[in-house]
């Protein structure tokens, strides 16, 4: 079952990329794309085990649909925040590197969490070590682990935990 899911998800992913690159109107392209997606997912069989960690159930799909909006909202707020700091003549920054904890287990979940943290208000992932993330924070409000985790990680973790486990 796990193998089947891996196989199916990687095929869908490669084929989706091919369709995005070539367009859907031409049947010749679709046939070639299907063949090449099969070849690619068998050639990179060892790296498709990332896809075995993705959960497929209705709640995960719903959350996967919601997540881009949560992320977009955070991205826009991040940029307004950065813009405010850059334009202000006094350069109001209070930076530092803090440590946060995450509950996520899967690798792809951690990747997406780290990417989301990097693209959201005033935070940049510097180093990971197991379940600890070291985060450069442009405006440190509290150096405490629990408090920082609550402020930085929690809003994404809620969704990613359901999608990736």
């Amino acid at each position: 079952m796990q193998q089947l899911k891996r196989c199916f998800l990687s095929f869908v992913f490669f084929f989706g990329l091919w369709v995005l690159l070539t367009g859907i109107s031409d049947p010749q392209e679709i046939i070639t794309g299907a063949i090449i997606a099969c070849l690619a997912s068998s050639l990179f069989w060892s790296s498709t085990d990332l896809w075995g960690e993705v959960q497929i159930n209705p709640k995960a799909i719903l959350y996967a649909l919601i997540y881009p909006f949560v992320f977009a909202e955070a991205l826009i707020r991040a940029n307004l925040d950065v813009a405010r700091r850059v334009i202000a003549p006094s350069l109001p920054i209070n930076p530092g590197i803090v440590k946060v904890k995450t509950k996520l287990k899967s690798r792809i979940g951690k990747l997406i969490l780290a990417n989301s943290i990097t693209l959201t208000p005033g935070t940049l992932t510097v180093e990971t070590n197991g379940e600890n993330f070291y985060i450069h924070w442009i405006d440190v409000t509290s150096p405490d682990i629990e408090e920082a985790s609550h402020q930085i990680v929690q809003k994404f973790e809620k969704y990613l935990e359901v999608i990736f486990g």
């Binding site: 990329l17 995005l20 991205l75 590197i97 940049l124």
Partner: protein, 109 residues
């Protein structure tokens, strides 16, 4: 429609400009990386999608989506790798820095 897209493009280019401005103004590498990553990511997303909206007959929307997704995925990864490397080789943080847990934890080992 064309004007709406052009305004979105304009906002995107302003964000690109702010990213570069932050790159010049910020006091140390990590803060520069913050502005350089975030502002340019949103800026290029807005720039590309604004172009796609305003000139929709001359543009390939599928490839715009691929380009945006690629930028959103790779930009944080590369800046994370660079930040990690610079912390490892000991590029100093600015004097305003309040706390550095990573250096503390590395000192313990």
């Amino acid at each position: 429609m064309a004007v709406t897209g052009a305004i979105i493009t304009l906002i995107g280019s302003l964000f690109l400009f702010l990213g570069s401005l932050g790159l010049v103004r910020m006091p140390d590498l990590y803060n520069r990386m913050q502005t350089g990553t975030k502002a340019t990511t949103l800026g290029s997303i807005l720039f590309l999608s604004g172009l796609a909206i305003s000139q929709s007959e001359f543009i390939n929307i599928d490839k715009t989506i691929v380009l945006i997704l690629f930028i959103v995925f790779t930009n944080p990864i590369s800046s994370h790798a660079l930040a990690r490397a610079s912390h490892f080789i000991g590029i100093p943080l600015t004097e305003k820095t309040t706390v550095d847990r990573l250096a503390e934890d590395e000192g313990k080992e």
